[in-house]
């Protein structure tokens, strides 16, 4: 492998480069640069996925130093899948955001582009990190960039939501760092690959404490019930492209980290308390869906739907020990929800621009005016409900399959019930949209680009179900399952 042409480091360097350039260009500039950079990143991610499928998982020593002195990057199937999802969704949203911010209609874009670039660099670095401390640094960078994006809207409510998000995020990273300190004290290393065989059920108490702290930190960052309180205000008050980025990608990054720890290293502890994230996930599905059904603001509805969909991710933990099906279900849920939620927030951004308001009630008559967007919302809803042939269907099918195989049919019941509840809030929006508009209603014009991006993302989330086998093959590369 040629050292310079390896895609691993470039996936981190490219977004850093265009983000810094966009910052230098000044407020609101850099959209075209971002799209160019993201196209390159997507190509790199595809290249990496292709290489992994033929050559297997691999490690890249930054600067040729290598662990333990230097820092290693590592890529396996799961990281490649996350990278592909991130670049795909981010590229689509960049095209969307360019139209969204054009002409100053969506509020000031000020530092949207540089912050997005830093966010993506942090996220790509997180997916490629091979040691616990590097993960801490990338997690903090990701959190800071995300908070900056929430605050970029500028209003009082946005800043308040951003500040709350920042404090929660810092508290969680602090707990994670304390966990890293305890692990380093016990084993003298932070490399995940070295730690995995070392940690077993006979580990000292400090390591158990560390595992609990780190798992808790990641649950807070992923907004698992009852730690979801920060998510709806932060995701619900940001501009549409930001909400989409945060809901589709950022919460998945901390979940990825938890999954990584759970599969490597903390497997021994996982067996003891696997029921806990499962139960919290089940409550999240029910509570999030009910709040979504009751929400009067459109964006809050979608944000609470994220709380519910995150619940499905945590249902896999009690089933992980019993084979690879639950693992595959989790990965499918990450990808399909990522695409569907980005589509849904993008569609909501279009609807809000057209009606000028953020309430579900204002949607009356939208069906005739914005059929493409409404269709996109519906398709994304199909994925969230888990109807075939969507990616969401595949994820839920695998989950139910895993639950029945292990005789834990209770989880299967939660999955099916959650699908019905999701139908509740999706159809609430659709029903309102098909009502006749009051005669005096005025609809503002919305750029076509925005509508078609929402549609493209939604269609991808549905068609994903047809290409599931390829994704699962990629997931199998060097993975734990």
């Amino acid at each position: 492998m040629n050292f310079i042409l390896d895609p691993l480091p470039w996936l981190i360097v490219v977004p850093l480069a265009w983000a810094s350039l966009a910052f230098l260009l000044g407020p609101g500039r850099g959209g075209r640069l971002a799209i160019l950079g993201l196209t390159l990143q997507l190509a790199l991610a595809l290249l990496l996925a292709g290489q992994l499928l033929t050559d297997g998982a691999r490690v890249y020593p930054i600067g040729g130093w290598g662990a333990p002195l230097g820092i290693d990057l590592a890529a396996d199937g799961l990281s490649a899948l996350m990278l592909l999802l991130t670049q795909t969704v981010a590229l689509a949203l960049a095209i969307y955001a360019r139209a969204y911010f054009a002409g100053g209609h969506g509020g000031p874009a000020t530092w949207f582009w540089p912050l997005t670039g830093f966010l993506l660099a942090a996220m790509n670095a997180l997916f490629l990190s091979a040691d616990l401390f590097n993960l801490y640094v990338t997690l903090e960078l990701l959190g800071l960039a995300a908070v900056g994006l929430v605050a970029a809207g500028g209003g009082g409510t946005q800043v308040a939501a951003a500040l709350r998000y920042l404090l929660v995020s810092l508290l969680a990273s602090g707990a994670y760092l304390l966990g890293v300190a305890l692990i380093y004290a016990a084993y003298g290393t932070v490399s995940i690959a070295t730690l995995t065989p070392l940690i077993d059920a006979q580990a000292p108490l400090a390591v158990w404490l560390a595992a609990a702290l780190m798992a808790l930190a990641m649950m807070v960052k992923t907004a698992l019930f009852p730690f979801h309180f920060w998510l709806p205000p932060a995701h619900g008050s940001a501009p549409a492209p930001v909400s989409a980025l945060l809901s589709a990608l950022v919460v998945k990054a901390s979940f990825y980290l938890l999954l990584r720890l759970w599969l490597g290293g903390f497997a021994a502890f996982g067996a003891v308390i696997a029921w806990l994230p499962g139960v919290l996930g089940a409550v999240a599905i029910i509570w999030g869906s009910i709040q979504a059904i009751r929400a009067s603001r459109l964006k809050m509805l979608v944000a609470y739907s994220t709380v519910a969909q995150i619940g499905y991710l945590f249902l896999i933990f009690p089933l992980l020990a019993g084979g690879g099906l639950a693992y595959q279900a989790g990965a499918m849920q990450i990808v399909s929800h990522g695409l569907a939620k980005a589509a849904m927030f993008a569609a909501v951004g279009v609807l809000m621009r057209a009606t000028g308001r953020d309430t579900v009630d204002a949607l009356a008559g939208v069906a005739g005016r914005l059929p493409v967007t409404l269709f996109a919302f519906g398709l994304a809803g199909v994925t969230l409900m888990g109807l075939p042939p969507s990616g969401g269907f595949l994820a839920k099918w695998l989950l139910i399959d895993a639950a029945l195989e292990q005789g834990q049919w209770g989880w299967a019941a939660v999955v099916i019930g959650g699908g019905l509840l999701a139908a509740g809030y999706v159809f609430r929006v659709l029903r309102q949209a098909f009502l006749l508009a009051p005669p005096a209603t005025h609809f503002a014009a919305v750029p076509r680009q925005m509508e078609w991006v929402a549609f493209g993302l939604a269609a991808a989330s549905v068609l994903l179900g047809l290409r599931g086998m390829e994704l699962i093959a990629l997931l199998g590369v060097g993975g734990a399952a």
């Binding site: 903090e140 920042l166 760092l177």
Partner: protein, 89 residues
């Protein structure tokens, strides 16, 4: 009780005080200060517990340096946001 362990226990104490402060205090500036206390606690545990055969282990020192940079950046962001919130109100 070794010196390292004393540092680590003090670190845990600081961490717990900081965490309690972030959660329970009302005043925004105090919350931000409490976060710094929490961070320092974690750093103290990192440096204190990891001793290499009586000597100093350089790896956690490097980690703490990185951690300090991160926490300075986070504090700066929190202060900037607090200032903006104050102006918006």
């Amino acid at each position: 009780m070794s010196a390292g362990l004393i540092y680590a226990l003090a670190g845990v104490l600081l961490f717990v005080m900081g965490a309690a402060g972030v959660v329970m205090l009302d005043h925004l500036l105090r919350k931000i200060l409490a976060f710094n206390l929490l961070g320092s606690g974690a750093f103290l545990v990192l440096v204190g517990l990891a001793q290499r055969a009586g000597g100093v282990d350089p790896v956690p020192q490097a980690m703490v340096l990185t951690g300090i940079v991160v926490s300075v950046a986070a504090t700066a962001l929190a202060l900037a946001l607090a200032r903006r919130l104050h102006r918006a109100e």
